[in-house]
C-alpha cells in the first residue's frame, strides 16, 4: 500500500528524492529546541478554533436586545457583537469550549514565543546565518501581540472596551501625527465610527493571520535551509548536524507535541474559565470597573503607564509627548528596538562576524546572558507594577508606596541582576560546575608508569575558544 502511494506521488511530481532527503533530515533534539513548536501548534489551534468562531460572531455595533440564557442581561440592549459572543458562550453547543480554547491558545501562544525567544537569545542562535530569521521571529511576536489584543477587543465587553480606550489614547500620543493615525484607525473620535468593529474583525481574522502565516513559512524555511543549530558535544561540529531523523523518531514526537498542545488547550478550554464577558457586562464609555487588566502579554504596558510620573512636556503650545507615550510607546519601543538591534550590537561589541551553527550555553557568554537577564528583570518588574492594585489588596502594601518602589526598582534591580548573573556565569563556566554531575578530572600517565589525576579538566573556556566564536571576555 505504501508502495502504490509512493508511486502515485512520484509519477506526478518526481519528488521521491526530495522526500527521501526530508525524511532523513537530522533534528538535534535538545528539549529546548521544541519551544518554537509549542508556539506553532498553539497557532494551529488558534486557526482551527478561530474558524469555528468566525461562523458565529457578528462584527457589528448595531444594537439588538439580548434574549439568551444569561438572566442579568435578558432584555438589555447590547451590540450585535456582544450579543453574538454571549450566544456563542451560552446557546451554541460547544461554543464556549471553542471560545475558551481559542482564548487560552492565544495566551499560551505568546507565552511559548517568549520562552522560545529567551532560548534563542541565551544560546546565541540569532547569530549569522540566522539573524534574518531572528528578525522574522521578532516581527511575528509583535504581530501576535497586536493580533491577540485585537481578538479579545472584538467582543465589545466592558473590560476590552476600556483597553481600546487606552489603545486610542496611546495612538493619540504619537508626536505630530497621533491624531491623524488614531482617526484613520478608528474612523472618528473614540469610540469610533460604526464600522470600527468590522475593521478590527477583518484585521484579526484575515490580514494579520495571513501575514503571520506567511512569516511562519519563511521562518521554517530559514531553519531548514541552513539546518538547525546544536549544542557542542556528542560529535557535533560546525560542519555537521547530529540528531534524530525526521522519520520515524522526530515526526512521531513532534506530532505528539502537537497533540499534547492541542490537548492541553482543550482541557483548559473546558475546565478553566477565561474571559467571562457576561460577568463584565457590555462596554459603554461612561462605565468602568475596578481591577481592569489587559490580557497578560499587555500587562507590561499597563505597569509602565501606571508608574510613569505625570510628565507631559509641551513647547510653544504643542504637546510633544502626551503622557501615555512614555508607557505605551516608548517602553515597548525601546525594548523591541533593543531586541532587533541585538545581533548587530553583539557583532560589533564582541567583534564576531563568523557563521555559527554551534550554540553557546548561557554560561559560555556571561556578558550576553547578563544583559538578557537584566532585560528580563526589567520587563518582569513592569509586569508586576501593573498588578500593584492586587498586590495592595492581597498583601496590604499601600498603592502609592508601591509606585515609588517600582520606579526605583526598574532601574536598580536590572543593574544588580546584570552584575550577579555575569559573575555566576563566569564562575560556572570556569569551573564547569554542573549541579548533578561530578566535575571531570583529567588523568595522566606518569613517566614511572602510574596514573595521576591532576584535577584540572579541559577548561571549558579554552574549549569554547577553540570551537569557534570568539567572545571577548569582559
Amino acid at each position: 500500500m505504501i508502495r502504490s502511494a509512493i508511486r502515485f506521488v512520484d509519477e506526478r511530481t518526481g519528488s521521491a528524492p526530495l522526500i527521501r532527503k526530508v525524511l532523513r533530515y537530522a533534528f538535534p533534539d535538545h528539549w529546548t529546541f521544541l519551544f518554537g513548536e509549542i508556539a506553532l501548534y498553539s497557532f494551529m489551534v488558534l486557526v482551527g478554533t478561530g474558524v469555528f468562531l468566525t461562523l458565529f460572531f457578528e462584527p457589528s455595533l448595531a444594537r439588538t436586545t439580548y434574549e439568551g440564557a444569561y438572566a442579568p442581561l435578558q432584555g438589555v440592549e447590547v451590540s450585535l457583537a456582544y450579543d453574538s459572543a454571549l450566544r456563542l458562550s451560552f446557546d451554541v453547543n460547544a461554543g464556549l469550549l471553542m471560545r475558551q480554547t481559542h482564548h487560552w491558545a492565544a495566551l499560551v501562544f505568546i507565552a511559548a514565543i517568549a520562552v522560545h525567544l529567551m532560548r534563542i537569545f541565551f544560546t546565541g542562535a540569532f547569530r549569522k546565518p540566522r539573524d534574518i530569521n531572528y528578525y522574522v521571529g521578532l516581527t511575528m511576536l509583535v504581530l501576535a501581540l497586536v493580533e491577540g489584543f485585537a481578538g479579545y477587543s472584538l467582543l465589545d465587553d466592558l473590560l476590552s472596551g476600556m483597553g481600546l480606550a487606552i489603545a486610542y489614547a496611546t495612538t493619540l500620543s504619537i508626536p505630530v501625527i497621533g491624531g491623524d493615525v488614531a482617526f484613520l484607525i478608528w474612523g472618528d473620535q473614540f469610540p469610533g465610527a460604526d464600522d470600527f468593529i468590522s475593521r478590527l474583525f477583518i484585521a484579526h481574522v484575515l490580514i494579520l493571520p495571513v501575514i503571520i502565516g506567511g512569516l511562519i513559512a519563511v521562518h521554517l524555511l530559514m531553519i531548514a535551509l541552513p539546518h538547525h543549530t546544536q549544542f557542542r558535544g556528542g560529535g557535533a561540529t560546525e560542519r555537521n548536524v547530529v540528531g534524530t531523523p525526521m522519520w520515524p523518531g522526530y515526526a512521531l514526537r513532534s506530532v505528539g507535541l502537537l497533540f499534547a498542545t492541542a490537548g492541553a488547550l482543550f482541557l483548559l478550554g473546558g475546565l478553566i474559565q477565561v474571559n467571562p464577558i457576561w460577568q463584565w457586562g457590555q462596554y459603554e464609555i461612561y462605565d468602568g470597573t475596578n481591577g481592569a487588566q489587559p490580557d497578560w502579554y499587555m500587562g507590561w504596558l499597563i505597569g509602565a503607564l501606571r508608574i510613569m510620573p505625570p510628565i507631559e512636556p509641551s513647547v510653544f503650545g504643542y504637546t510633544i509627548f502626551p503622557n501615555p507615550f512614555f508607557g505605551g510607546l516608548l517602553v515597548p519601543g525601546v525594548v523591541f528596538t533593543f531586541l532587533y538591534m541585538w545581533p548587530t550590537i553583539e557583532r560589533r561589541l564582541a567583534r564576531d562576524r563568523e557563521i555559527h551553527h554551534l550554540l553557546d550555553r548561557p554560561r559560555d557568554n556571561p556578558w550576553r546572558t547578563a544583559i538578557g537577564a537584566a532585560l528580563f528583570t526589567f520587563i518582569t518588574l513592569i509586569f508586576l507594577a501593573g498588578s500593584a492594585d492586587r498586590i495592595f489588596v492581597s498583601f496590604g502594601i499601600d498603592y502609592e508606596t508601591q509606585v515609588w518602589i517600582f520606579r526605583v526598582a526598574v532601574f536598580a534591580l536590572p543593574a544588580i541582576v546584570y552584575l550577579l548573573t555575569k559573575r555566576i556565569c563566569e564562575e560556572l563556566r570556569d569551573t564547569d560546575w554542573h549541579p548533578l554531575r561530578e566535575p571531570p578530572v583529567m588523568i595522566a600517565r606518569t613517566p614511572s608508569g602510574g596514573f595521576e589525576g591532576d584535577g584540572s579538566a579541559e577548561r571549558p573556556r579554552d574549549r569554547a575558544a577553540a570551537g569557534g566564536g570568539r567572545s571577548r571576555r569582559r
Partner: protein, 288 residues
C-alpha cells in the same frame, strides 16, 4: 507484543473512548467541562501514544548529516555575472535605473493615498464635546437633574439633553461640595450651581471612565474628596476645579460650568474648560 507497544495500544484505545465520549456529550448537550475533558483527554492520550511510540517503539537512531554549504564564493561570482549580463550593450544604464526608481517610488507613494479614506481629518473633533451654553443636564434615562438630586457625598452621571450619550464628550460626573470646601480658581468662581460642580467623566490620561469617587465620612481621618480613574489611578480634586493630585495624567480634568435655568434645574453655562479626553499633539493649543 512488547510492553511499550501495549501501552501505546492502551493509550490509543483510551483516546478512542474519550473521542466517543465527546461525541455523546455533544449530542446530549452536556456541559462545557465534560466536552473539554473528553476532547482534551483524547488529544492528550494520542499525544502520549505518539511520544511513547517515537521514543520506545519505533527504532531509535541518531544520524549525522553534513550541513549544506553556505557562502560559496564561486557560485556567488557566477550569479553576479549572470545578473549583470542584462546590462550588456545598454547605453545609459544609470539614467534608466534612475527612471525606474522614480516611477517605482512615485507609484508606491501614490498607492498609500487611499489609506486616507479610512478616516476623517481629526481637526477639532479630537477633544470636542456636544455641550454648549444652555444644554440641559439629564440622567441616563433622559430625566432632568436638579441640584437637590446631587447631595453632598454622592456622585451622579449626567448627559447632554438631545445628544448621543455614547459620544466621548457627553458623560459628566456631578458632585456637590460644601461651600467651605469649594476652592475654584477665580475665573471659575461661578461655575458651580449651589455647590454642585461638573467634570468630564473621561480621564485626560488614557480615556477611561472616571467612575470612582472618594468622599470622606470623617474628613479629619480620611483622604479628601477626589475623582479617581480605575485604569492608572489618576486622581482629580473637584474642589480646586479638577486638578490632578496623584497619578500619571498630564492635564486637569476639564470642568463644565453649571447654571440653573428658570425651572431651577441644571444646565451647562458654557463649554468645557478645555478639550476632553486624552492628550494629543495639539491639545494645549485649544486651551481657552
Amino acid at each position: 507484543m512488547r510492553v511499550p507497544e501495549r501501552i501505546v495500544l492502551a493509550l490509543l484505545l483510551a483516546a478512542t473512548a474519550a473521542a466517543a465520549t465527546f461525541a455523546v456529550a455533544y449530542a446530549l448537550e452536556w456541559s462545557t467541562q465534560v466536552l473539554g475533558l473528553a476532547l482534551g483527554g483524547a488529544l492528550v492520550a494520542i499525544a502520549a501514544a505518539l511520544i511513547l511510540a517515537g521514543k520506545r517503539v519505533a527504532p531509535g537512531e541518531e544520524v549525522t548529516e553534513q550541513r549544506p554549504k553556505l557562502a560559496d564564493p564561486a557560485e556567488e561570482r557566477q550569479l553576479e555575472l549572470d545578473i549583470e549580463r542584462a546590462g550588456e550593450g545598454v547605453s545609459r544604464r544609470g539614467v534608466l535605473l534612475g527612471g525606474a526608481a522614480a516611477a517605482g517610488t512615485a507609484l508606491g507613494g501614490a498607492l498609500v493615498f487611499p489609506v486616507a479614506s479610512l478616516g476623517p481629518k481629526p481637526g477639532d473633533r479630537i477633544g470636542s464635546s456636544p455641550w454648549r451654553r444652555g444644554t440641559r443636564v439629564v440622567g441616563e434615562s433622559g430625566g432632568r437633574i436638579a441640584p437637590d438630586d446631587v447631595k453632598v457625598g454622592t456622585f451622579v452621571t449626567g448627559f447632554p439633553d438631545g445628544a448621543d450619550q455614547r459620544e466621548l464628550g457627553s458623560p459628566v460626573v456631578l458632585v456637590r461640595l460644601r461651600p467651605d470646601d469649594l476652592e475654584l480658581p477665580s475665573d471659575r468662581s461661578d461655575w458651580d450651581a449651589e455647590g454642585v460642580v461638573a467634570f468630564s467623566k473621561i480621564c485626560t490620561h488614557a480615556g477611561c471612565t472616571i467612575n470612582l469617587y472618594r468622599y470622606p465620612l470623617f474628613p479629619a481621618q480620611s483622604p479628601g474628596p477626589a475623582l479617581v480613574c480605575p485604569c492608572h489611578y489618576s486622581t482629580f480634586d473637584p474642589a480646586t476645579g479638577g486638578n490632578r493630585i496623584f497619578g500619571p495624567a498630564g492635564r486637569a480634568l476639564p470642568q463644565l460650568p453649571l447654571a440653573l435655568d428658570d425651572e431651577g434645574l441644571l444646565v451647562a453655562a458654557g463649554e468645557f474648560s478645555g478639550p476632553i479626553g486624552p492628550s494629543w499633539w495639539g491639545v494645549r493649543k485649544r486651551d481657552s
